[in-house]
Amino acid sequence: MTGASATPAAPARPLRRELLLVAALLALVALVYALQGSAYATRMLVEASAYAIIAVGLNIQWGYAGLFNVGIMGFIVAGAAASVLMTVPVNPAFWAGSGAPLLGEALVWLLGAAVVVALVSQGRRIGLPKGLVTASTLIVAAVAFTIVSAKFDPATTAIEAGAGFIGGFGLPVAAGWIAAGLVAGAIAFVIGKICLGLRADYLAIATLGIAQIIKTFLKNADWLTRGTLTVSPLPWPVPTPGEIGFLWARGLYLSLAAIILVVVTLLLERAYRAPWGRMMRAIRDNEAAASSMGKNVDGRRMEIFVLGAMLMGLGGAVLVHFTSVFDPSGFVDLNHTFLIWVMVILGGAGNNRGAIFGAVLVYIVWTMSEPAALTLFSLARDWGSALFGWVAPADLDSRALQMRVFVIGLTITLVLRFAPDGVLPERLRH
């Protein structure tokens, strides 16, 4: 261990390779600007930066700590929803109607139920046998669930009938983005408490499930999110296109997203080179050794899991405010979980520059792949009918887009097999 000030142990060649790759990426971005116009390309870059924030979040979970999270979509959508709730203008009809006091009462019941269940689950502290505590906790939880849902039903019905939805708090966007991180982090804390002591597979299964449940809840909770009606428009942290024009507004948004990304990355790099980061790597590479040295393995893992999830929530909020529409069904596993996995493992796990590089590259390829797939398949349709008299199915276009699912899966398996370190591998300091 020579400390943070030592020169990188890696020779100059990987550095040149990195510079070459980054130059190629910049050339690709310039090409998109030239072909598609500035407004389109800037939009793509804003979305790519939001994805890069999320990818950095995943990178610290996977690359620093080896935590296998396949519920990224859940943290993104939870963060987005939290930010929407904070920043959308106040809905006076809700506060004036009968729904507000009913909802308040239901929330108090929820809080009370949580406290009671928590107290019962701690019954061992007063000497009750374990089996009794487990059984009574489960029974009390079921009863509490029934009571709380019975309290919520009239409230949500009243809100949906009277005010439509509860609106927001009308706070500045910054407050929304902070809330996004906090909510995603809180969800991660609960999951982490349950799964982090067990093996990685359990975490994968649990995160996969919680993501589906969060999405189902937000999709069906019309009183909170207007469900399929979507919440729109969402406020922007910078002047909107209506005020200063598309290009300027998007450019400002891009600068903001890029600043957040750079600050987050620099802070993480700093922490990673500090003793905390060395401890993280030690735990990832040899858990038994680290724990026998007295490192708190579960505690450190929890830190990084929550931190990564907060970044995912923040990225989700950045993404949703930019599109200005919150539609829970618009968040899908493919775009918001597996695409990010491809970004991280292709870029090189354990390396934040790699994650950012992967995010921008993969997002450009992903955006461009839609017209490319459609063109390719209509070409196949024309040639097939001209040469062999093949009659293409009517839904060829929707099938063509499914090709991208296949390509994502193929990329994951190929990278794992042939380039497990990604294109910008983690640079180890010795």
Binding site: L198, D201, G209, I210, I213, T216, R399, I408, I412
Partner: protein
């Protein structure tokens, strides 16, 4: 009385059917988890793929003008099982074995299986479209009505076949695991791979057998589920979480636990969304005045069905990570 029959039709039969599907899937997942030590996320899509193989074969036969007294898909099931077993072995050869040989961590295998899931989903949708299909090509589904005096108990042909086949496979699996050499070797590898290796058990054969059994059972579950409802490309994606919940509830590496877990999850899910106010309706007149039976007495609304296996999973992970049958925790 009619209300009770309604409960049997919806609650008991529904739980039995979905429970059988979960049980058959979970046996495969638990064997793979126990022997290869990773959670196989592509299991659900292997089920969908098997249903598509069945449909494609049946379509070919039916276009040749072949008809049988039983549905073609059902008659073709043994062939489909063999093909799916071969397919599963092929998946292992192409994607998982190279990683194992390199000594990759189990979590890398999990990730590879997610890659395989996406590939299968993409391919299935590319070749079969995104719409849903009926597995019955020529004749409509046979429906059995068992008369009870009032409303009959209704069972469809695939439901009867699924229950019969599940019982048959469980018995066959039990005999295989306890009587045959290979089955005993599988249990040995699952219990202690290092000890099994040094005693000269052929690991590669055991791995192959694991995939073949997992694939064959997935073929039964996938085909029957597709026959019972409809064949949709994302059919299996939603049952992946319940299958994992059943596996962990039963204890990893415990085939009998997986079966019990599958039925427990299946019944819990079905009964949680069942509207119990139907059952109380006959006692309406017995209630004191002023008491009304609420219109809906379901524990969870139907759209939150997936929440039930998830919460069972969480409760198991908190209180008994070894599952009910004392499986292993990795």
């Amino acid at each position: 009385m009619d209300e009770l029959i309604f409960f049997i039709n919806r609650g008991v039969v529904g739980g039995l059917i979905i429970g059988s599907v979960y049980a058959l899937g979970a046996v495969g997942v638990t064997l793979i988890f126990g022997i290869l030590r990773f959670a196989h996320f592509a299991h659900g899509d292997m089920m969908t793929a098997s249903a598509f193989i069945a449909l494609a074969l049946a379509a070919i036969l039916s276009s040749l003008g072949i008809t049988l007294p039983i549905p073609l898909v059902l008659a073709l099931l043994p062939v489909v099982m063999v093909l799916t077993a071969l397919f599963a072995i092929g998946l292992d050869r192409a994607f998982y074995r190279p990683l194992r040989k390199r000594g990759a961590k189990p979590v890398v295998l999990v990730m590879a299986s997610i890659g395989v899931t996406l590939m299968l989903q993409g391919l299935i949708r590319l070749f079969a479209g995104t719409g849903s299909r009926d597995m019955y090509l020529d004749a409509p589904k046979t429906i059995f009505r068992i008369p009870t005096g009032g409303r009959p108990i209704v069972l469809t042909e695939p439901q009867v076949a699924l229950i019969a086949l599940t019982v048959l496979s469980v018995v066959a699996l039990h005999l295989f695991l306890t009587r045959s050499r290979l089955g005993k070797a599988m249990r040995a590898v699952s219990d202690n791979p290092d000890l099994a290796r040094v005693t000269g058990i052929p690991i590669e054969r055991v791995v192959k057998a694991t995939w073949a059994i997992g694939g064959g059972l997935a073929a039964i579950a996938g085909t029957m589920l597709a026959m019972d409802v409809q064949l949709k490309p994302d059919l299996a994606y939603n049952i992946l979480l319940p299958i994992f919940a059943a596996t962990i509830l039963g204890g990893i590496g415990q085939p009998y636990g997986a079966i019990a877990g599958g039925y427990l999850i299946g019944f819990a899910e079905t009964l949680a969304v069942f509207n119990f106010s139907v059952l109380l309706r006959p006692f309406r007149d017995l209630l004191p005045a002023g008491f009304e039976i609420p219109a809906s007495l379901a524990m969870v609304p139907t759209e939150y069905r997936l929440v039930v296996p998830f919460f069972i999973l969480v409760a198991v992970l908190i209180y008994r990570p070894t599952g009910i049958f004392k499986g292993r925790v990795f």
